[in-house]
């Protein structure tokens, strides 16, 4: 089920009403309702894959209980490995089987040895990377004794399958989300209104910005060999906004929806395109994944408190795995490597924590110095996105070759003027709202009610009148 579909527009109010009116007196029933709703939400796409979620849930629930019971290190390690094998095994099979088989065959053919392998028709289950990482965080935290294992299966199953963030995050930590399922919930008017506001802003980002950009991005990236450098540059810029609008829009809708049910999900995007260097960008982009990798991979590998050679290794490991997490294609690995190359100099020179706070926090406009840094960071990120969006590494290099020549300074063949106006308005609103959790959270907060509601109506009408046709969320494929 897509957030930007009519089905969801019917589904959400029904679940909301049942949750707050019919089952409001029983926490257990509310959780059961959320679990059923989550399975309906996921099963709407393909009910057969509910079995995978259920399997992950059962394994980690069981492992959690066993870890709670036993103190013997060997046994504890065994249970952890069992959970890792099952979860990563499923992820590996469904997501990476073809990639590894094909890469293996390609590698041998490079040496002149032709190999053949039978291929399977494997469908990638939507959101498998997200819920796998979420459930793994539970097992690892229980193993580390940072979290107590839950004995309530319904609570745990709902934590794994919680529909607002099931298929595209934010990847919640068990220590943050799981306890919320055992807490009594009371309807909070201002929290619910805040949730609605965030949903509205998420829909704007997705339907108006991302989906409109997608129309041009698809055309330009499909036929990149017939466009000038300037058009390809426009295509790359538009993809930067598409992926941001698409993914952060989804996160906003997810967080807003969770608020309607009295849950608090973590911020996933913190205005990443206002970052002044790559390190800051990675603290602001897909925060739930970055911190997951930091806590469960980077720090266990030694983080940055080891010898320089190991720091370099750790950074490359993190970024390459992060790339691979996004998809089974060399393009994502090169994208990860490129980001590692961007990031490494800052880390080695110990300049990776220079920009911690909000840019131009006390000012309306950024300084020229900050503006220049933001622009350079954005351009670097945009160039990396070319690898992310291209079908193959070869296509990405050809695209780059197409950008970096004298035609870069010609007038683009594709000039979506009105879309650029919309993007400028969007950037302006995000800039003004950068101190909040999302663009319009605290914006116009001091203005009279009429003005604020007028603005929300205008945003709604822009979605209605300028929104593009329904497109799937990019991150569903991950």
């Amino acid at each position: 089920m897509l957030f930007n579909s009519l089905t969801f527009a019917v589904f959400l109010p029904i679940v909301f009403m049942l949750y707050w009116f019919v089952f409001k007196r029983s926490l257990k029933r509310q959780n059961v309702l959320l679990l059923l709703a989550s399975y309906v939400f996921y099963g709407w796409w393909d009910w057969r894959f509910l079995g995978l979620i259920l399997l992950s849930t059962l394994v980690d629930f069981f492992v959690g209980l066993q870890l709670h019971k036993t103190e013997a290190p060997k046994q504890r390690k065994f249970y952890l490995l069992f959970s890792l094998c099952v979860n990563l095994g499923l992820l590996g099979f469904f997501k990476y089987y073809h990639f590894f088989i094909e890469s293996w065959i390609d590698a041998w053919s490079f040496f002149g040895i032709q190999m053949h392998a039978s291929t399977l028709e494997i469908i990638l289950p939507v959101g498998i990377s997200f819920y796998t990482f979420q459930t793994l965080s539970y097992t690892i935290d229980v193993y580390r004794k940072q979290l107590e294992a839950t004995r309530d299966f319904v609570q745990f199953a709902t934590f794994v399958a919680f529909f607002p963030q099931l298929v595209a995050g934010p990847i919640e930590r068990a220590s943050h989300l799981l306890p919320q399922f055992s807490r009594e919930r009371k309807f909070d008017y201002s929290n619910a209104m805040n949730g609605l506001r965030q949903i509205l802003w998420g829909l704007f980002k997705k339907i108006v910005i991302a989906d409109n950009c997608a129309r041009y991005v698809n055309i330009i990236f499909e036929g990149y060999d017939s466009y000038s450098g300037s058009t390809l540059f426009v295509g790359a810029i538009l993809f930067s906004f598409q992926i941001y609008g698409d993914f952060s829009g989804y996160s906003d809708i997810a967080i807003g929806t969770a608020r309607l049910f009295g849950f608090d999900l973590k911020q996933n995007f913190a205005f990443p395109y206002f970052s002044r260097d790559i390190a800051e960008f990675w603290r602001r982009w897909h925060i739930s994944l970055s911190t997951w990798f930091k806590d469960y991979l980077y720090i266990p590998l030694g983080g940055s408190r080891v010898a320089l050679s190991k720091i370099v290794r750790n950074v490359f490991v993190i970024f390459v795995i992060s790339g691979l997490w996004h998809g089974a294609n060399w393009t994502y690995i090169v994208w990860g490597l490129l980001n590692a190359l961007y990031f490494l100099p800052l880390l080695v020179l110990k300049r990776n924590k220079v920009h911690i706070g909000i840019v131009a926090e006390d000012r309306i406009l950024p300084s020229i110095h900050d503006f220049r840094k933001m622009a350079v960071t954005f351009i670097l990120i945009t160039f990396a996105w070319i690898f992310f969006r291209s079908k193959s590494v070869f296509d990405a290099f050809q695209y780059l070759k197409g950008v970096l020549n004298e035609t870069l300074f010609t007038i683009p063949e594709i000039r979506p003027t009105f879309l650029f106006v919309l993007i400028m308005i969007f950037v302006l609103i995000e800039w003004m709202g950068r101190r909040g959790l999302y663009g319009i959270e605290s914006l116009w907060g001091n203005y009279p009610k009429g003005v604020r509601w007028g603005v929300y109506y205008v945003i709604t009408m822009i979605i209605f009148l300028f929104g593009a046709k329904q497109q799937e969320f990019i991150y569903f494929q991950f």
Binding site: F187, Y189, M193, L196, Y457, M461, F464, L465, F466, A468
Partner: protein, 308 residues
Amino acid sequence: MTAFLKRIGIIVLGIFGVSMLVSMGSLWALREGDFYKPSFLVNGVSTSDFDYIVLGASTGLTTLNTKVIDSVLHIEGINLSMDDTSISSQYLMLEHFLASGKHADICVLASSASSYDAISIHISDNDYRFLPYVSRGYISDYYASFSGTAAGVSGLSKWLPMAGVGYYNAELFYPSLISLVAPQHRNRFDSKGNYTYPVGSGASKRILSRHPKTIYFKNTYLAKIKALCDSHDIQLVCYVSPLEQQEAILEQTSYDVINHSTLLKDSRYFYDAIHVNTLGRHVASLQFSEDFRSYVISESFDKLRMTE
């Protein structure tokens, strides 16, 4: 909770009301302008009695130049073709033409070669252009006769204009703003309904062979068009436009057909495999005028003339 639900109710009602107003305004603006063919026919065409009309898809739109045909044969016609449409859309256009109080003696159906046999359960890509007139029964009935989201949304627009305008916002709302500011602005067609593709830079190349393509005239809407024409004393002539790579072989049919599929022998006349460019259009329109002359002066046509 009650306060929240009250507020949500007010918001939803407000959004609903504003959306309906904007949508109705948008469809009204389109109805008042000449932007798309259906409204151009109503507002931008003063003639009500034509010697002929051209109904078709992009092939009809870009091949038959009614200005050339009119000047050669000293008759009056108009091109009502729309790109990305099928024969069902052309049937709807004929209904719309007649319902708008207009009449023609001959209807030239210039659909694409493949359309004559195609059967689709979905509406055509550009059928939304009739949405400003969705309150008219024949248009809402047309949408209702198809399945799919687009047809459903379009049909629903009779009662809920916001459905169609929301679904086709880029195609309807932007143009409605243009229509509001410049009602006489037309969407890529001239005052006689024609459009042309530019001449490309490709080298001239003799076309030596073409793949045969048999046309059986099986499309059920073709029979409907014929019946509608007959009931209004309109003679129907089917036209197959020039093709670069195919030769239309006509299966024995009761329809009058002018087959120009092999008319142009050089690739310089083509914009792509099924569309001619400005050069090709000129040659095809001149040849069409010659072939069409016999219909214009035919006995039945004269008879029709006399009864008028």
